[in-house]
Assembly symmetry: C2
Homo-oligomer: 345 residues x 2
């Protein structure tokens, strides 16, 4: 079980809530400047924090060296939002510590010595922050963080200095996108220190009408202020999206339902499907399920399908190298078969 | 049972074979010039031929006055290719005589006094001619036809003079259409006295990639020559179409199958569908069934669906007036439900 399969609040609009903290250990240079021996010492130090009893008693943490991971497994971690692309680029010295529910992950020797995140299903920033704060305390009990009384936590990139906190909410905004209201929404949030990215971070397209809204500013406001600011903005966006969905349903009715049903028809019948089309269809399916137009499926089913259709997850599942044509055929086959299982369940 | 549900030879390419004879009764003006009393006498005369025993003993013939038929029933007869639009335009005096298997229909007081046709499933022009020839003999035993020793049978329009025979084959040519070879094919047949029309006769589009190929010339060659000429030309077209289908399958493979499967997906899921899209999807479904790519359906199933999706048939089934939006929603619903029944059978 991970955020992908678990139910969360506001699941009609929100896929996940995530808090990330950037931390560095005092006495060592930042990763760009450090020696391999520094990296090894840092990893040993962090690992030690998780070998003793933690506030999450009963949870087991696994430690994985990225260099031991096949390429396809690295891609799967990124596609599941459990690790960053950056971590994979530091593969020679980087490691990933993860709890068995895949909620808390600690990336070691990424851009900073420590990047820890908590990801939860649906809209629950507060809970994610509460969990991650305890993880942070656990580590801080064992190591001394690089901290400046005036600036706060020091980080490799100045955009993270201060709290080192990035809170982000992954949401599905099809109606705002189709009705072209999304531009105004994104403009508004940028004025209050928030920013929007696509499904896979900076510079990625809003594939499947999925947006990640997060705080831009880490220095100045407190952690709780950052989270509160984001929470209020997100709630406004959810309401706007829900209103836009109802408006589409009211104005277009049958035509609107038709589009959503056809998406299901294509997902259950196509023999070839590229990622772009797949994400567009998944968006329509998610909308159909959210509006109870398409019965027999849940938001979690749609999440599972979305992740299942990603290239790395498919490659891992196939257990062999897939070229583009193979991949598109395998995606269609895998999604079709899993979706039919879900519909018959 | 009619040609729509029965199996016929070459059913992968041919929907139906049809022979039509135009005849007029000596001593009466052609329908454009005749009085209502003439029309009544002609109908009585023709009816008499079918009230005595006929060469089709055991078959029951029904006689219907077009003026007694609701508009929607008239449209259904046209959509099933059992009567002409022209017959409906002479509705004040016209009648339709039909056998209970809907193979032989005799239109009375259409453009000519008598237009009889035999329509059979698949490619069987010879059998259709043989059956219709006997019907013609039956009538001729009772009435005197307008006949000129030099010209042959006289008809209201000079394009039918001579044999009064129109043989036509309704075929599905998706691969020749998509690969744009159809232009050359149609050019060739026009050089040997044949002509091509769409699904519903002259001037109608080749909706659903369906073409009716028929003889242009009725004067000069014998009935058997006309039929032989058309038979040879059709066989060449079938071979070309089959080769084009195999070529598409070989070149495009998975992509090609994908298109056909998606058609099934859309037909089983859409909530709104206009006639043009419907016919295009039916064409793809027919191709998928013909090439055994889509299992669980027969060519006859596809015929049934094609007729079921026509506007008049839908209106008749709904039992109420349907506006365009209603019609497109009702078409999607009806096709979806019948197609699912077929797939589960």
């Amino acid at each position: 079980m991970s955020w992908i399969e678990e139910k969360g609040p506001d699941r009609d609009v929100v896929l996940s809530s995530r808090i990330r903290l950037a931390r560095n250990i005092a006495g060592y240079p930042f990763p760009t400047m450090m020696k391999d021996s520094d990296a090894r010492e840092i990893l040993d130090t962090v690992k030690r924090c998780f070998s003793v009893s933690t506030p999450f008693s009963g949870r087991r943490y696994s430690v994985t060296l990225i260099k031991d991971l096949p390429e396809v497994d690295r891609q799967v971690l990124v596609e599941k939002h459990l690790a960053s692309i950056d971590l994979m680029q530091h593969s020679d010295v980087a490691a990933l510590i993860m709890d068995d529910r895949q909620r808390v992950t600690i990336m070691v020797n990424e851009e900073d010595h420590i990047r820890m995140q908590c990801i939860l299903p649906g809209f629950q920033l507060d809970k994610a922050w509460e969990m991650l704060d305890r993880v942070d305390d656990t580590i801080e009990a064992e190591v001394e963080y690089s901290f400046d009384d005036r600036l706060g936590y020091l980080t490799a990139c100045p955009t993270n200095v201060g709290t080192g906190l990035r809170a982000s909410v992954m949401m599905h905004l099809p109606a705002l996108t189709v009705s072209k209201q999304i531009g105004a929404v994104l403009q508004t949030i940028s004025k209050i220190g928030l920013t929007a990215r696509g499904l896979y971070g900076e510079g990625s397209e809003a594939l499947g009408n999925i947006y990640q809204i997060s705080n831009q500013i880490t220095l100045g406001p407190s952690e709780q202020d950052i989270i509160n600011n984001l929470t209020v903005a997100c709630q406004r966006i959810f309401e706007k999206e829900r209103m836009a969905q109802q408006a589409m349903l009211k104005v277009s009715g049958k035509q609107f339902e038709d589009v959503l049903w056809r998406a299901l028809g294509t997902l259950t019948h196509a023999r070839v499907m590229d990622i772009k089309e797949f994400m567009a269809l998944i968006s329509q399916l998610r909308l159909g399920v959210g509006l109870s137009i398409i019965p027999g499926l849940t938001a979690e089913n749609v999440n599972e399908l979305m992740i299942l259709g990603q290239s790395g997850v498919l490659g891992k599942r196939a257990g062999r190298e897939l070229d583009d044509a193979d991949l598109n055929a395998y995606r269609a086959e895998t999604i079709r078969s899993r979706l039919n299982e879900m519909l018959q369940a």
